[in-house]
Assembly symmetry: C2
Homo-oligomer: 512 residues x 2
């Protein structure tokens, strides 16, 4: 199969129905097919050949959608750029991937990115924005006016995209995903209804991120309609749901929280919404209660995975979201296409309930890291992707992710998984968010340190939180120091940047 | 992916739930996994190696189920035998496939098959029956007592089965289907809920047939429970549904008709049933009305395809079963994994609405015919399987199958597709079934001839039927001769053996 197959199928089955909506612009499936065939011709006219990379840096839009489809149609490899990255990080990924054609929009101007030397060495810069076309850039409409070409139909094991993994672990690496990787993940996700068939889907999460792209592939596969907002805000998301009768959306918990807490939410007609997929972390009981109260008929589904797994590997299904169930803290169970197991340090399968490294196998496992055979061989062993996440399985196959292995704290010779401490802290009524990591300690080797954000109008002391935690987890796991702050730094995908937090504390203590 | 993957997943997620039920015998997933690992060891102990074939001839049972799983686990290629076939047809397929290990049960004794010379040349004959083990046969329990082996995990493009196509067209050919073919078909079928996830599924249709095997793969993939009855009868099927709380079943329309017409149906508690998949032909409005009256909450889904397509290619979904809709006569639309088109005699894509040959492409297309490169090349062109079925597409992608190309009648220079005539006749209130084909005619070249079965207690004359048909289809399409009979010969899959009917009429007219 191949990633434009769903577009061909929709043209056959619903040619004049809505394929994509962005603000006041919309296209039917047959119009989209024609635009994509021409845009693909435009991409090829820049000298790009089968397997060459093409990058996109910008806000969510219908053009981002067309970029993905036209790149696949033209036989190219997509290289979507994380918009939180600095110019030098972007320059690194362009050079690493050998990408010389980049599409940008107004965001690149706002961030003054085009001044970066890396953008002066490109073969072509394409302008997909609303503002004025920068000097030397080719306008989008010019490319869409090119002569159409036939779908190149790269498929199966052919490379479809390079996805540079975020900065939460080590140096950026280009994860190679094939057409089979992404299509299989979409089929498995569709079987379990991570996104419903023929959904009217809102791209509220960033489209450069694989979590959103996974939903994008399901919507294409099953003939749904894409609705985009430029970037997430509760106001924009609620407006789009009401205006375009959105049925399905994928969010990170922080976005969901912003949505259900939005003061004017009652002013929107949200009756079309029936399903919310989320990922990045489990949902808290408190957020689940508020979501169920706000949307009594909306189903929830949690996905867990990573870029190297295309990304979906386990799902916690709607009927598994029962208040009070211990499984609500799990990441669910293996999807139809995935096998999962827990391995110990020697790579042997761990006993049920024992914590070890989460490994996954299946047709959704990446082809490898771009130009990094050693780093690939270190994680891909006998077909099993070793995720670097620590977790355990219960007797019914539920996966509990306890931490990034690298985030594990060793205090007084005991292993402490920070997620466990964070969960304990977050169950205190005054706590909104918590990040836990190890800091050097003369006596214990490392001490458990917590950075806590309190809910507005709530109060709690360090001692309150320690007492609360002691009632839930072993004493050696409780934070020895607690720090209160206004907000935590998060990635575009909503993950707390713990490494960054920790490094600033290490620097501060060195200065002390 | 590979065909035992679902078993491993179910063992992880629901080890102690029911995997299979046959009469008073049942197994949990963990028990089944252990039996399969041992049975696979037993199969290998017969000298079979990766890719060797192993055949099964018998009634539906839990052992048929274990045979499939253990053969895949052992790295073997399944070769299920059509139980309607004669000894010489079976001997042909065994020799053609090079199959030297055959599993049989009481059916082989009842049909006196073991006396056939082909059964004296086998490497091993395995007895899976209830009766006494024949001389020289190995008992099933002995093989299941072998030392367990690890799953060989043949997968992807590895050959999984040889499926000899029925005698309705030409000489039997072994269709080669891979693990990827069958798993992809199961994933597509699961997305569209041809069978629901985690169904309690009744194998009422013959398990040797690919239509039932397609459902079998979905049930395995999604962790459902298999329930078997030895062979179809309304009484056995209804008993099994009531006793085992069956939720899903796949039938041919003739079986569904027998079910809803069963006089004692009201005596069974059928409240668990929620979904009926069917294939082989569209459902008549009359049968749809009776089914909806009998099972108001049961959904219906029609599948169309052929052995060479693993087999599912189009589906008519539950919500597309509206009384009075012209689409009820269609075979539905392409599933997520399949592409379909209509081609003319030159292989060019036909215009919308024009009748031509139905062609399909996708990862569900067979690897080819076993040892028949020429016949493979004749039907597999640029990845497109040319089905030999005639049909057309409407503007929304609905596929209307008008006939086997070879069944087309040319009368007075006009093409007549017999299915169209049959549909017209079947819409008469007195008609239960009709088969239409051409017979030689001095004036017209061929004349349209109909063989009709009337409903019990109904009456109609040849003239009545002709008048009725004239109100629906062009005059040249109406049957010039009508013959009434008690029953039509059908294949095990419920297809009318039109070639057989026609040949007997040709012989009769030659004698005349």
């Amino acid at each position: 199969m191949y990633l434009t197959q769903g577009l061909h199928r929709s043209v056959q089955q619903k040619p004049n129905e809505l394929a994509a909506v962005f603000g006041d612009r919309s296209t039917t499936f047959v119009e989209l097919r024609n635009r994509v065939a021409q845009l693909a011709g435009g991409f090829r006219s820049l000298g790009l050949k089968d397997g060459d990379r093409i990058a996109y840096y910008g806000y969510n839009s219908d053009r981002f959608h067309e970029y993905y489809l036209a790149a696949f149609w033209a036989g190219l490899v997509v290289h979507p750029i994380n918009t939180r990255w600095s110019g030098s990080e972007i320059a690194f990924s362009l050079a690493d991937a050998g990408t010389t054609v980049v599409i940008v929009d107004d965001l690149a101007v706002e961030k003054d990115l085009l001044a970066h030397p890396a953008f002066r060495e490109l073969t072509a810069l394409v302008w997909a924005g609303a503002g004025q076309t920068p000097a030397d850039a080719l306008p989008w409409d010019e490319l869409v006016a090119a002569a159409p070409i036939d779908d190149r139909r790269r498929n199966g094991a052919d490379l479809a995209g390079l996805f540079y993994t975020g900065g939460t672990t080590g140096f950026p690496k280009g994860v190679m995903l094939t057409h089979e990787n992404l299509v299989t993940c979409a089929m498995g996700a569709a079987i379990h209804r991570f996104v419903n068939c023929e959904a009217v889907f809102l791209h509220a999460a960033p489209m450069f991120h694989l979590a959103d792209l996974a939903a994008w592939t399901v919507v294409n596969l099953t003939g749904g309609t894409h609705v985009m907002i430029p970037s997430f805000s509760a106001q924009l998301a609620l407006e789009a749901i009401a205006r375009h009768r959105v049925t399905d959306v994928v969010l990170v918990p922080a976005m969901l929280q912003a949505l259900v807490d939005y003061p004017q939410i009652k002013e929107f007609d949200l009756g079309s919404l029936r399903h919310i997929g989320y990922g990045g972390s489990p949902i808290s009981e408190a957020l689940l209660v508020r979501t169920q109260k706000m949307f009594p008929d909306v189903t929830l589904c949690q996905a867990f995975g990573q870029t190297e797994l295309s990304p979906i590997t386990t799902l916690l299904l709607p009927h598994e979201h029962s208040l009070g169930s211990p499984r609500l803290r799990s990441a669910g169970r293996a999807v139809a296409h995935a096998e999962i197991k827990i391995v110990d340090d020697e790579g042997t399968e761990a006993e049920l309930g024992s914590v070890g490294e989460i490994a996954a196998r299946g047709p959704h496992v990446m082809a490898g890291y771009w130009n990094r055979p050693d780093e690939t061989a270190a994680v891909l062993i006998d077909g099993w992707m070793h995720t670097g996440d620590a977790g355990y399985l219960d007797a019914d196959g539920y996966l509990f992710v306890v931490d990034r292995l690298k985030d594990m704290i060793i205090s007084g010779g005991e292993n402490v998984y920070s997620a466990e401490v964070e969960n304990a802290l977050c169950s205190h009524p005054a706590v909104a968010m918590a990040a836990v990591f190890g800091l050097p300690d003369e006596r214990w080797g490392e001490r458990v340190h917590a950075v806590v954000v309190l809910k507005p109008g709530s109060a709690a002391t360090e001692e309150d939180l320690r007492e609360h935690a002691k009632g839930l987890i072993a004493g050696y796991k409780c934070p020895r120091s607690v720090e209160f702050t206004e907000a935590l730094p998060v990635t575009a995908a909503g993950k707390v940047l713990k490494r960054e937090l920790r490094e600033s504390r290490l620097k501060a203590s060195a200065i002390d």
